[in-house]
Structure formats: C-alpha cells, structure tokens
C-alpha cells in the first residue's frame, strides 16, 4: 500500500511502486483531468504539482510520491476557480483542450515563482506542447492572471 495525498485527500493505493503517478491518478483514483500525451516527459499534458513543484506525472514513480502533497487540475483553486482558470475562460484559451490541464498547472507554477513574468519567462517555463496552437492565448491569459494588461483580441475588419 502506498499512501498518497491528492488534492487534500488521503488515498491508500495497492499498486506497483514503479507505476507512474499519471496512471494511478487516472486509472486508480479516476482523476481524469491529467492527460497522457507522450509518456516520456516531452509534452507536459500530465503535469501536476508535487509539494508545489510542477512534475510530469508520466515519469514520476508512485513509490516516490508517498507522503508528498499532490495537486491536480481537479483540486486547483478549490473552492471555486483558480485565477489561472478564470483567465483561461476569459481569454478563450483552449481549443481541443487536451493539453490544457498540464498547461494551467505549469502556468500556476510559473506565477508562483515569477508573479510578473515577462514573455521570455513564459517561453522558458511553458514548454508544454499544444497541437491546436493555443500559445498566443496562453501567453495573454498568463499576463492577465498576473495582473498585466493583455493585448486586444482580433477584431472584425
């Protein structure tokens, strides 16, 4: 049994210690907001917070997670919505949405470290992959959540 604290709740899971945290979250705890994209820590769709740090859960062994505090998209901002989620809604960030949980978790980490990130900070921290091209809106939403004024969206000519 491995004791996990996820979104403030304690779970005892009977799994192999080398099972990646991602699959414990998704298939054992049914927290489906965290996504599988590559399995090799390249895309960031599986990013969760472990003791406040962003971690690609597809490569994090659950055996190493005992006693640590794990936060997933389902627990973000509870109760209510985190300011990143509000900014995401406000700026219509997601297209298909598949990568967005990881994207938001990475953005929350960025703001925790750099409350007023520059574009260069965003480029450096936000290495998540999005095939739909939500990047310009991710950038705007991060600036907005940081209280910095975003650029205006496209207008009808």
């Amino acid at each position: 049994m491995i004791k996990l604290t996820v979104n403030g709740r304690v779970h005892n899971v009977d799994v192999e210690p080398d099972m990646p945290l991602l699959w414990v979250l998704r298939d054992q705890l049914k927290l489906m907001g965290t996504k599988y994209g590559c399995g090799i820590a390249q895309c960031g769709a599986c990013i969760v917070h472990v003791d406040g740090e962003p971690v690609t859960s597809c490569r994090a062994k659950v055996g190493d997670m005992a006693g640590k505090k794990i936060l997933t998209i389902e627990g973000l901002g509870k109760p209510g919505l985190h300011r990143i989620q509000k900014a995401w809604i406000e700026h219509e960030v997601p297209q298909c949405g598949y990568c967005q949980s990881g994207m938001m978790m990475a953005a929350v980490s960025l703001l925790a470290k750099k409350p007023k990130p520059t574009d260069a900070d965003i480029d450096e921290a936000m290495t998540n992959l999005c095939r739909c091209g939500s990047y310009p809106r991710v950038r705007k939403a991060i600036h907005a959540a940081a209280g910095q004024s975003p650029a205006s969206p496209a207008k009808k000519a």
Binding site: M32, I73, C96, Y98, C130, S134, Y135
Partner: protein
C-alpha cells in the same frame, strides 16, 4: 454533452476579469434541471425544457475548432431564444440512423462543419421558432403573424400577452412544421456573427472528463495495442509466457495484424504488451525506405503518359516560345497528424448483441459502420457516443482503424467494456500520413516578364485511392493536384499532370489536404516574380482578374501588414495567397534568420474572406491554430526505414512550442453571398509566406522540407 458550469463560480470569474470583456456574451450559466418534467423536442435540432432551457443538438464533431458553438449560434439566431439559456448535446448516431439521417451529415472535415450545414441548421431553428409562435397564437386565438418571439419569449403586441418558450414547447411539438421558412439576413444577426464565448471551454478548463481517453464504465478493462511495425505485415507467432504472468493482465489478444493486452489498468496493459514476443511476417514491404519512395516518385515524374489534371491552351508551345523559362522541383515528406489525444476507442459488446462505442471521431457514421461491420451486427444495433476530440486534423475521419480494433478486442471479452488506447509510439507509427510528394514546375515568361505558360508534374500518393477510391476521376485524385490545377492566376497556357504513385505507407487527409501544393505554387510564383524582376505582391495582383476575391484578401493582408514599408533591421517579409475549403486567404509573414540559420517567425497577418463569419473569435483562433500546426513543417518528417516509420515520439517528431509561435493577426473580410470554412484555409498561405520571407532574409530558396541541418547557416 452539456456544459454545466457552476453559476456562482462563473459570476466570480466574470467579476475577477474586471469589466474589460472582449467577448460579447457570458457563458450560459445553466440552473439545475427541473425535476420530473421531461424536456420537449420541438424538432430534431431544438429541445426545450419547461423552465426555458434550450438544448441545441449538434451533429458535427468538436475538436477545438469551435464548430459546436458556431452551429448552436446559428440555430439560436433563428430560434430567437435566450442565448444564456442554451446548452448543447451531440445528436445520437443511432437515433440518426433510425430517424433516416434526420441530422444530415455527421462528418466533420474539410472545414465543412458550418458551411455545409448552415442552411439546414438555421432552418431547424427557424422552423422551431415558427412552431412555438404558432402554438402561442393558437392559445391566444390570434393570427401568428401578429406574434413575435424574442429571447425566448413570445409576445402579442396588441393584447400585450406574453408566454415563454418553455410554456408552449409541448403544444408546439404537436404542430405540423411549416414547409418553408424565411431565414434572417446575416446583416440582422444578433447571436450569430458575434464573438460569443465558446460553450465547451469551462469543462475543459476544469479538467472535467470529456475526451475518449476519459471514458470510465463500471467493470471496464483497459487495452494497449501493438501493430505490425511494417505496414501490411501479419502476426506470425506470439509468445505471451512473460506477459500473461504480469499483474493485472486479463487477456492476450492476437489478431491478423496486431496484438493487444487487456488489463485492469492501462499502464499494466502497456507494460505487458511490450513484454509480448511477437514474430511478424513483414510481407512485401520490409525493404521500403525513404529512398525507395523517392525513387518511386521520381519515376512518376518521368512517366511520359500521365493523366491530365489541367490543360488550358498549349503550355508546351508557349514554353518553347518563351523569352525566359524558370524551373524548380519541390518536395515534402510524410507527416503524421500527431493529435495530442492518441487514438482511443471503448467498446462494449452487450449480452443482447448491442454494441456501444465511445470514441473521438470526426465521422460518427463511419465509426458506426466500422463497429457494425466488425461486430457483425446491423447499424441499428450500434451506438457511438461522441466524445470531445483531443485534436482531429483529419486523422479521425475516414480511417476508423481504431474503432475496428476496439471492437475486435471487445469481441474477445463479451459483456465487458474495454477501453483501448494507443501509446504515443503506436500513434506516431500507425498514422494515415500527409502524403510525401515531389513536384516539378516550369514557367515561361515573355519579354516583359509576364507568365505565359505554366507546367506542373505532380508525383504524390493518392489519399482517395486508399480511403475513397470511388472519388477518383480519370486517374486524378483532386486532393493531390488541388491548388496547382485550379489556380486563379490568369496564365493563358497551363498543363498539370498527375503521377499517382501510392507506395505502402497509409496516407490520409491532414489539415488542409493538398497544402503542400499551395506551398510549392506560392513559393514558385515568388521565384517567377523574381525572374521577372517584379515585386511578389504586384506580380500576383497583375495575374488576378478584377473582382477576384483572391485580390481582395491579398490586398487586405498586404495593407494590414504594411507590405512595402520599412522593417526593423534583420526582419524580412514574405507573402502568399490561396483559396481553399470555400474561403479565400492571403498571408504576410515576417521572419528573421540568425547566423546559425535558425528561423524566427515574428508575425503572421492573415486575411480571409469566408463569405460570412459566425464567430470572429473562433475564426481568429483557427488562424492561430493553422500557423502553429504548420510551423512544424520546417523540421518535421516521418521517415521510412525497413518498411516502418522511424520516429516514435515527440523527441524525434517535434511539435512547435510556445517560443516559436508568432504574433497572429487575423483580418476578417467577409463579402457575403457564399459560405467558406476556417479550420484549414489559414494553413494555405502561412507556410509559403514563411519560406518566401526566408528567401528574402537569406537569398536561399527552401524547396524541400524539412530543412536540412545547417541549410540556412551563413557561409
């Protein structure tokens, strides 16, 4: 699927946003359903609850392109309901079959979602409105013409009576639908044409389960699959002795061209499938490689007897008499769609033989047909639950390989729902790839530099030969020749020939099928303009007829981007245009190239005339998406060695990231009178404009993608 955002949460979100609402409406905040009283279907498109909530049925798929919201806007516009009370649900494919395909097409590709259904969905909304008004008028015993619907309320002006939609939905549903309804002039639109907020975003921001990978059913098992590494190969033998002992493993599945393991958790299934020792019969394709494929394409170009995709005037004679001839060869590799959500299908063969499927599909009817055929049951005994797609880009339409596999696996475990999800490696190596191609173009110029002759020879595998052979006409696959055989340029003599050379790599519709030809054409036209000593914009405009909508968008993009005006040092512009998918687009791109030869794309201005615009904000998002999707073409390739695809994951098939994304400015110039798409057209002008800008920056023409390492490095 309905969007159930907590009203309190959203109001807080709006308040936090602080008044600077860029978008016109808030997201509908739907109250808890009234208990006990069922909603009423007024017609196939419109369902109304007694408390006035309106459910709009959506037949097309949502993969992030915003079609779900746009279609709801069109229905709501004609229905005259309160947009804040609108939710949506995907129409049931099984019901669709039973009701004689009442929802029209369920296919979502070719940027068709809005443009090919706008007429009947608007009529659906208008018909429902007239029935609701007629029901109210009957109640009041007044002529319907004296009554009016607005924001979900019907009023009779003279008697000042009013009734809400929810109060007359029941009576309206019993009326005969009007035969003919008048649709609103888009000039008078109140909900359509506005940048309303997308209905699917709140769930996606809260990580709620909406995708095929998120399906979870009681007693469900998980499957991971391993397919023949060589396309067309077969399973010869399987040694499952190690795999079957692994924890959680429930079943080893062996089919003709794949093996799979079913377990109680996907990771366990995937660990076990990797532990299978499989011997493959590679068939005839084990020696295929990039070299053999290029040889095949080159042999195609040399074929003296090719089918003609276009013949205007006498290109050979005009070429012979030309003052100057420009010639170039362009090439592109195979490219995978690489949707972020891998191919996934949950299938459940129920004890009574009914088959339920949950999948991310661009074509629910094709999914149904694949499931029915594989399970050996009639269509009526299949239901396909349409999930949100974690990207589509054409991969989840015509090929329904993943549905067939899901059902084959579930057949081995009757009564048990099984969710089959591909690993990224399977997804990368078993795509239906954008075809590799080789194209040779030739232009003849007169003494003044005018282009008097154009020839193109296209060697390219045929998507239709694999997926829709009945659509091939006289040896021509339109998706392989488009943009080159339908140029708007007024060149008097044109000859385009097509060499269908198919090879063994499965090919499919990849965002903007035929896009490679737009790249070739628009880069080549730049070469021709240069040979003529003309500005690329002026040269194009001189070859476009007055009134041609291509002119309009070219001029709009050029004007917005400041074509011809000075740029900061080190930044260079390129321009391109192409019509496609019902729309006209042109783009101007600004790039810089550093000494190491690395390209930085700074800005993309895209002008588009799609006739009408249903949601300007989602249209802008599609321009951004098209740019992001295409940037990768600079360095992506799915290469072939020993009959199999080499690249297996995002480490070797790289996806563009945040830092590579340019600023995208969308210039919407809808001229009305036709309906064009938005999902793909943006791609057509982006990449050629990038490469033309790269030429402006470096003096080097990139004619073969991807770029070779160091190709643009300063000598």
């Amino acid at each position: 699927m309905t969007i159930a955002i907590d009203r309190r949460q959203f109001l807080k979100a709006s308040a936090a946003a602080g008044g600077g609402l860029a978008l016109e409406f808030s997201i509908p905040a739907v109250a808890a359903p009234a208990k006990g009283i069922p909603p009423k279907e007024v017609n196939a498109w419109v369902v109304i609850h007694p408390d006035d909530r309106v459910v709009i049925r959506i037949a097309r798929s949502e993969m992030g392109q915003g079609t779900l919201t746009a279609l709801a806007q069109l229905v709501a516009e004609e229905l005259d309901c309160d947009w804040m009370r609108v939710t949506t649900e995907f129409a049931s494919p099984n019901e669709h079959i039973r009701r004689k395909r009442i929802w029209g097409s369920m296919s979502t590709g070719g940027s068709q979602g809005v443009r090919s259904s706008q007429d009947y969905v608007r009529k659906g909304g208008a018909t429902a409105r007239e029935m609701l008004v007629a029901a109210a008028a009957q109640q009041w015993k007044v002529p319907a013409a004296e009554c009016k619907a607005e924001k979900g309320v019907i009023t009779h002006g003279a008697s000042r009576r009013r009734v809400r939609f929810g109060q007359v939905a029941d009576a309206a549903a019993k009326l005969e639908p009007p035969k003919d309804v008048k649709l609103r002039d888009p000039k008078d639109w109140k909900i359509a044409g506005k940048p309303v907020r997308r209905l699917d975003i709140p769930d996606k921001v809260m990580g709620k389960p909406v995708f095929a990978v998120d399906v979870d059913l009681p007693g469900m098992l998980h499957a991971s699959i391993f397919q023949s590494p060589v396309f067309g190969g077969k399973v010869k033998s399987v040694d499952a002795s190690a795999a079957e002992k692994m924890r959680g493993v429930k079943k080893i599945v062996r089919e003709a061209d794949f093996v799979a393991v079913v377990a109680d958790n996907w990771w366990r299934a995937n660990q076990a499938v990797r532990a299978l020792k499989v011997e493959w019969d590679e068939g005839a394709n084990g020696n295929a490689s990039d070299e053999t494929i290029m040889k095949m394409l080159r042999e195609g170009l040399a074929d003296p007897k090719l089918p003609e995709a276009r013949k205007v005037g006498d290109a050979a004679a005009a070429m012979a008499g030309a003052a100057k001839v420009v010639e170039a060869e362009y090439a592109s590799p195979y490219l995978n769609h690489a949707t972020m959500e891998p191919m996934t299908c949950t299938a459940w063969i129920k004890p009574d033989g009914f088959v339920e499927v949950w999948t991310s599909t661009q074509n629910a009817e094709a999914s149904m047909a694949a499931a029915a055929e594989t399970a050996g049951v009639p269509l009526e005994k299949v239901e396909v639950h349409k999930m949100m797609l974690g990207g589509g880009f054409g991969r989840r339409g015509a090929p329904q390989d993943f549905v067939k596999q899901g059902v084959l696996i579930a057949k081995q475990l009757p009564g048990v729902p099984v969710k089959m999800m591909w690993s990224r490696e399977e997804d990368m190596r078993h795509g239906f790839y954008r075809p590799a191609s080789l194209v040779k173009m030739k232009a003849g110029l007169d003494a003044q530099g005018n282009c008097v002759a154009f020839e193109a020879r296209i060697a390219c595998p045929s998507i239709l030969a694999l997926l829709r052979p009945e659509a091939i006409q006289k040896g021509i696959d339109f998706s392989a020749v488009r943009t080159l055989n339908d140029m708007p340029y007024t060149i008097a003599n044109q000859q385009v020939d097509y060499a269908m050379r198919n090879g063994h790599v499965p090919v499919g519709f990849w965002r903007a099928p035929g896009l490679q030809n737009a790249v070739y054409r628009e880069c080549f036209i730049d070469e021709v303009a240069q040979a003529a000593g003309k500005d690329p914009l002026e040269y194009r405009l001189a070859m476009l007829k007055p009134g041609d909508k291509n002119r309009l968008v070219l001029e709009a993009a050029a004007k917005h981007a400041g074509w011809g005006t000075p740029l900061p040092a080190g930044i260079f512009r390129g321009i391109a245009m192409s019509d496609g998918f019902g729309s006209f687009t042109a783009g101007v791109v600004e790039v810089s190239v550093n000494a190491a030869g690395e390209i930085k794309i700074h800005r993309f201005v895209m002008a588009i005339d799609s006739g009408y615009v249903v949601n300007p904000d989602t249209c802008a998002a599609q321009a951004e998406g098209n740019a992001a999707y295409c940037i990768g073409m600079l360095y992506q390739a799915n290469t072939v060695k020993n009959g199999r695809m080499v690249e297996g994951n995002f480490d070797t098939f790289q996806i563009p990231g945040m830092s590579e994304m340019p600023k995208v400015e969308t210039v919407l110039v809808p001229t009305g009178g036709f309906w064009g798409g938005h999902g793909e057209p943006g791609a057509l002008s982006f990449m050629p404009a990038v490469l033309n800008a790269v030429y402006a920056a470096t003096g080097k023409r990139v004619r073969t993608l991807p770029l070779k390492p160091g190709e643009l490095k300063k000598a």
